[in-house]
């Protein structure tokens, strides 16, 4: 019988067989590379009991407009049973500009909350009981160290031991040059700046902190294939870890706190294979390359966010079905935290109703689907194990190429990563345009009239109020103390010292995000992208 496609291929363009048999997974040593849940190489999961013991952390995306609005949302989400919080930051904050900087015009409070100084962080967490919160996450990257410093300064002021807070920062600057674009300084000083947080946490007993979450997500969302998502992310990881080790921080003293942030796409089997493959490659890399011995270091913790780029603006309610499938793949792939997209994410910051449905989707998978009762239930499937192996080969081959080209920073500066993604994204779009790849509601099964969905609109007055607030702060604070703290920061940066202590002093003196990043820009310069496509 004729089949629907001439060639069936994976997203990495590897052959996809009609049927898999034991012969596909019979390579010598294959059993050892599968292993058991909770055991090296953790292909089947990082715990023996997995979700039988406790479900994954259900985190959602939130943060928009003013600190007060986000604070109200936190209170609401906490009352709905959410246990992990993410703070989306607006673009000026992420790029180190104050709300009244000319570069910030029109962007303040648009895609997240504006954190112009410690004052905003204090407003954000007003009245939130920390004992109920399992995880606070933020997208801070170029300002990752500054965000961490603000949290420490806030805790110290409130008499809270920072070690009791569970902070989870992204702080993965290299992927910003590859995909998301919120970088400030050039790659080399930026890597050192990110590693400052790793070093600070390791040396100050911040065991609950995640000083870095290496991210494949944005790389995937920019067009990467699953193998590129993992390989580019791991190449960045190697760059950070080499720097940390160079400073004398032992891999087993920090790597267990580094998470991997991956996309949850809809291509079900390939995604389950991807999460399993990520754990296996990680544990082998940590053991062989960095000499890790602790099982905590070897077991990769994965944070999964359902892939926003795969949601459609057309027939938006269809996205609820997509997110459910993505969630199921992440759960069968054994991840530790899931954030689900709201169906309106293709348009804007989620409305509260859409965010609630996204959380309910996770709760339905956790409590009704029954898949949490068996650990790695798909493990041993010939198809899945073969896909896992095939992906691993691809990932290792790409890592080899990156290594030959001089590592992650070199591949960023030459535009290698960016061009690889453009090519993959273009290829994908060609398949959509030709109809070879069907997207329901987009290039097939279109509706004649699109349903209107409610849209979240940031308060139009938010920017003006935030500008006024930061200007008032500048006239109220002790400006001599600010200048002194900024001078110490500048000196630390010039000497190549760890910047964390001086950042904490700056935050505590209510230096603004723009003051601080402006000082560091003066030392390190600013990065211009090669604009390749």
């Amino acid at each position: 019988m004729a089949e629907t496609l001439e060639k069936f291929r994976t997203l990495d363009n590897d052959p996809l067989k009609r049927v898999y048999t034991p012969a596909d997974v019979a390579a010598p040593g294959a059993e050892d590379q599968i292993g058991m849940p909770g055991e090296f190489p953790f292909t089947r999961g990082i715990h023996a009991e997995m979700y039988r013991q406790k479900p994954w952390i259900m985190g959602m995306y939130s943060g928009a407009g003013s600190a007060e609005e986000t604070n109200q949302r936190f209170h609401y989400l906490l009352s709905q049973g959410q246990t992990g919080f993410s703070i989306a930051l607006d673009l000026p904050t992420q790029m180190g500009y104050d709300p009244d900087d000319p570069m910030s015009k029109g962007e303040v409070g648009k895609v997240g909350v504006s954190l112009a100084s410690l004052e905003d962080l204090e407003r954000l967490f007003d009245g939130i009981p920390f004992e109920k919160v399992r995880q606070i996450r933020t997208t801070a990257n170029a300002i990752g160290p500054l965000f961490a410093a603000m949290v420490i300064a806030m805790a110290r002021r409130q008499g809270i031991d920072p070690r009791t807070i569970n902070l989870f920062i992204q702080n993965d600057i290299l992927k910003e040059y590859i995909a998301r674009g919120t970088y400030i300084y050039p790659p080399a000083p930026s890597v050192k700046h990110s590693v400052d947080v790793i070093e600070y946490c390791a040396k100050n007993g911040l065991r609950n902190w995640t000083p870095m979450s290496v991210s494949g997500y944005h790389i995937r969302d920019s067009g990467a294939t699953p193998a590129q998502e993992l390989a580019f992310c791991l190449a960045n990881t190697i760059a950070y870890f080499q720097e940390a080790v160079r400073r004398g921080v032992k891999v087993d003293d920090f790597a267990h706190n580094v998470w991997m942030f991956l996309a949850g796409d809809i291509n079900f089997l390939e995604e389950v294979a991807k999460f399993r493959c990520a754990r296996r490659v990680w544990s082998n890399l940590m053991r062989e390359r960095f000499g890790a011995t602790s099982s905590e270091t070897l077991a990769l913790k994965i944070f999964c966010y359902t892939l926003g780029g795969h949601l459609t603006a057309q027939q938006p309610l269809n996205n609820i079905a997509r997110v459910a499938i993505m969630t199921l793949a992440a759960v069968l792939g054994g991840v530790q935290t899931i954030a689900t997209s709201s169906y309106d994410e293709a348009f804007s910051t989620p409305t509260p109703e859409a965010a609630t449905i996204a959380l309910r989707t996770q709760q339905i998978v956790a409590h009704e689907s029954g898949v949490t009762g068996t650990v790695d239930a798909l493990g041993g499937s010939w198809a899945l194990e073969a896909l896992t192996n095939q992906l691993e080969e691809r990932v290792l081959a790409i890592l080899e190429v990156v290594e030959q080209k001089g590592g992650a920073a070199a591949c960023i500066e030459s535009g290698y990563f960016q061009q690889a993604l453009s090519k993959a994204a273009y290829q994908y779009q060609c398949e959509v345009d030709s109809g070879e790849r069907v997207l329901v509601g987009v290039n097939a099964y279109q509706a004649s009239e699109e349903a209107k969905i409610p849209m979240y609109r940031p308060n139009p007055d938010g920017e003006r109020r935030q500008v006024a607030a930061v200007q008032a702060l500048r006239s109220r604070r002790d400006n001599a103390a600010v200048e002194a703290a900024l001078a110490r920061l500048e000196q630390a940066a010039r000497r190549g010292n760890n910047t964390m202590e001086s950042l904490i002093d700056c935050a505590d003196a209510y230096a603004t995000t723009g003051d601080i990043c402006g000082t560091l820009r003066g030392v390190w310069g600013r990065y211009r992208d090669p604009a390749v496509f």
């Binding site: 790029m95 015009k105 029109g106 962007e107 995909a179 603006a313 993604l421 992208d529």
Partner: protein
């Protein structure tokens, strides 16, 4: 020989989502256009300067951060001041339906939302360029 259409693609503002604009850049290049891409984080002035310098026939802007109602009017104003009223401006990204009529009234030639095929973009660019050549 027919003159190649020169398209300036720009990312004004702080938004770093450039998958869409890079795919469009490739599609236009493959269709025979001369594509100049500015890269990220351009101020309105930088975009207009680049369009002037590159003698662009068409300007394509990509914004996914929601800052379009601030950035696009500024760019159109600056273009007018430079006497570039005849250079059509295309806008891509996440632009809510409700904002489109206002932007088009201001002078945006077309708003291309998510799901627009590359074929449509190429066709539109060709039409706009052709119309420009017959309307001196």
């Amino acid at each position: 020989m027919e003159k190649r259409i020169r398209v300036l693609l720009a990312k004004p503002g702080l938004d770093g989502h450039d998958r869409g604009v890079r795919v469009v850049a490739r599609a236009l290049r493959d269709a025979g256009a001369e594509v100049i891409y500015t890269g990220l984080h351009q101020t309105p002035q930088q975009v207009v300067d680049a369009a002037l310098q590159e003698d662009a026939d068409i300007v394509g802007l990509s914004i996914l951060s929601g800052a379009h109602n601030t950035l696009v009017p500024e760019i159109l104003e600056l273009m007018k001041a430079e006497g570039m009223n005849d250079v059509p401006v295309l806008l891509g990204g996440t632009i809510p339906d409700d904002d489109r009529p206002g932007l088009q009234a201001m002078g945006v030639a077309a708003v291309l939302g998510p799901g627009t095929s590359m074929r449509e973009v190429v066709k539109l660019v060709r039409e706009l360029a052709a119309r420009r050549q017959v309307e001196p």
